[in-house]
């Protein structure tokens, strides 16, 4: 029991140290974005990596979290800390309504279904301008404050986001290593066999879809209160694909894989600015090379390489 807590304790220390020693606001902001993306990847990983169900529309839940808190705090003057559960609950409710018919699909069809859902939600953000601000975006989202602590400082926001990340890691770790987590992996390995040992596959798939929507909405909430301005482009089809890419590149069915995938996909564009107009080409090339040589993603792939090297000695 206590042994599997060590990685999380070490990770918490690393995060604290990173926050302590980093003073450059640009670095802090990048690290905070990594945290937000990690939440997105983690949520989708629970669905894709563990339950084996693909979603190409997860940016919709990310957007519901962001627009949800924007609408609640700006239009309705609700405290952000009440808007958080509100926005998350809205995403969970939508996930439930969408999930019941959609999760009956599988494979390509589930991909298409979720893709369509993501597009519809994005059109809503874009066209329902009286509420969402439309294509020009939603301005004036307040910064977060908790008593005397103001999260308008980059450093405090860094700690807030990574606090949520660590909390979510522990939460997912607990789910994965439980009866529910095993049932999820069983669905991934063989849905027919999972049903034959008594797993209510439809119900469990829906539950994990709702859970992963909640993580995405949390990320959306943190994103909105960080940048104060949101627009539909942040939650479009490309955004959904980026989340899928983080999960696949980082490593499916791995909590740490979500962190690595999110870090790489956040940092790569920053590093690649040097290539100016060739940026996207190099970006795509790097992702291709990773997939060709490490098809199981970075975490699993590097672990396998390490194992092989050890055996050959």
């Amino acid at each position: 029991m206590t042994r599997d807590r060590i990685p999380y304790a070490v990770f918490t220390l690393i995060v604290a140290a990173a926050g302590w020693y980093t003073d450059n606001p640009y670095y802090l902001q990048t690290l905070t974005f990594i945290g937000i993306n990690t939440l997105l990847a983690l949520g989708l990983n629970m669905l894709m990596g563990y339950a084996g169900q693909i979603s190409l529309g997860h940016a919709a839940f990310y957007g519901i979290g962001a627009y949800g808190t924007a609408i609640l705090t700006v239009h309705w003057h609700v405290s952000p800390w009440l808007a958080l559960p509100g926005a998350v609950a809205a995403a969970m409710l939508v996930a439930c309504i969408v999930g019941i018919p959609t999760l009956k699909l599988s494979g390509y069809y589930l991909g298409m279904g979720t893709l369509g859902f993501g597009m519809i939600v994005n059109i809503l953000f874009r066209e329902w301008s009286s509420v969402t601000g439309g294509a020009s975006g939603f301005v004036g989202i307040p910064s977060l404050e908790l008593g005397p602590i103001s999260f308008s400082s980059t450093k405090n926001y860094f700690y807030l986001v990574w606090g949520f990340v660590i909390f979510s890691f522990i939460l997912c770790h607990r789910i994965i290593n439980s009866r529910v987590g095993r049932a999820l992996r069983a669905i991934h390995d063989g849905e027919k066999a999972a049903a034959a040992v008594g797993v209510d596959t439809a119900k469990l798939k829906l539950q994990v879809f709702i859970l992963s929507a909640a993580f995405s909405a949390l990320a959306g909430f943190l994103y909105a209160h960080m940048v104060f301005f949101i627009s539909p482009e942040s939650f479009d089809f490309i955004a959904s694909i980026r989340i899928v890419t983080m999960v696949v590149i980082g490593g499916m069915a791995s909590v740490w894989g979500s962190l690595i995938g999110a870090s790489l996909l956040t940092l790569l564009p920053e590093w690649l600015h040097a290539f100016s107009e060739f940026e996207m080409v190099v970006y795509g090339l790097i992702l291709m090379i990773i997939m060709i040589f490490l098809p199981k993603g970075l975490t699993r792939g590097l672990l396998d390489m390490f194992e092989r090297a050890r055996k050959n000695k």
Partner: protein, 263 residues
């Protein structure tokens, strides 16, 4: 030998057609608690169809299947497990990426109850339940002789062991009825003997077994009763010895001018 016990499973004039093909016609028999029943028949006799009807893959066109006094029509596969019916697959269907131990733990899914919230909050009863589940899983691994491979990924186990593990996983749901779909296929003679012993051990623990099997020697050796299907109809039922001497059965298997075994 146990005819005065009450039947655990009753199959009453069940018929099933697929398009124009009549797969089963008016089949009736029952399984007595704590016995092993062998279901045999030439290819295309309807064994698999009957197996799928009992395991809830699809419902019969007419007729009823009653388990423990309740009809199981419209029950989904996972609900049947809670009722006490476990099954194995013809082509072993383990959770390949999970360890042998985890496979058996998933097998106990219906006998444990920790949900999503329970796993997050981890109250004392959850830890207690987890420990009990692990102990029981280890017992089952002992029973099939795979204790030292508890932490081996099940996909890496040799095929014969995978079969045994699948049986143990089915047993983990503490079933009253176990449906075995050709458990001996792909096994060598030694492995088949071990399998037979294991099935008899299950019976010893009060489990009723329905065995669909091609391996005649195994079926005849371990079954208390045999039901023979041919072309969708039940043509014989009785003790292994009686069935082996039954003329209709011999005709179905060897083929006569009047009644030719189909492919």
């Amino acid at each position: 030998m146990t005819d005065n016990n009450h039947p655990l499973l009753q199959i009453e004039s069940v018929s099933k057609a697929f398009g124009g093909l009549q797969a089963l016609t008016d089949v009736s028999f029952s399984l007595t608690q704590g016995t092993i029943t062998g279901l045999i028949g030439p290819n295309g006799a309807g064994k698999t169809t009957l197996f799928n009807l009992i395991s809830g893959v699809f419902p019969p066109d007419t007729g009823t299947i009653i388990f423990n006094g309740t009809g199981i029509r419209n029950k989904k596969s996972h609900q049947l497990v809670s009722l006490g019916i476990a099954r194995t697959f013809q082509n072993v269907e383990l959770f390949d990426s999970m360890t042998a131990l985890e496979n058996i733990l998933v097998g106990q899914h219906t006998r444990t109850r920790c949900g999503m919230l329970g796993s997050i909050v981890r109250l004392p009863w959850v830890a207690e339940e987890e420990k009990k589940a692990r102990d029981f899983a280890m017992e089952l691994l002992d029973l099939i002789g795979l204790r030292e491979h508890a932490y081996t990924t099940s996909g890496d186990l040799p095929f014969g062991w995978q079969r045994l593990l699948e049986l143990a996983r089915a047993m983990a749901s503490r079933p009253q009825l176990m449906l075995l779909d050709e458990p001996a296929s792909g096994l060598n003679i030694v492995e088949t003997m071990r399998l037979g012993d294991l099935i008899k051990k299950f019976r010893g623990q009060g489990v009723t077994v329905l065995l669909v099997e091609h391996d005649m020697s195994l079926t005849m050796e371990i079954s208390d009763r045999i039901v023979v299907l041919d072309q969708g109809k039940k043509i014989a039922e009785g003790t292994p010895r009686a069935v082996q001497e039954d003329e209709a059965v011999i005709a179905a298997y060897l083929g006569t001018s009047k009644n030719k075994a189909d492919g």
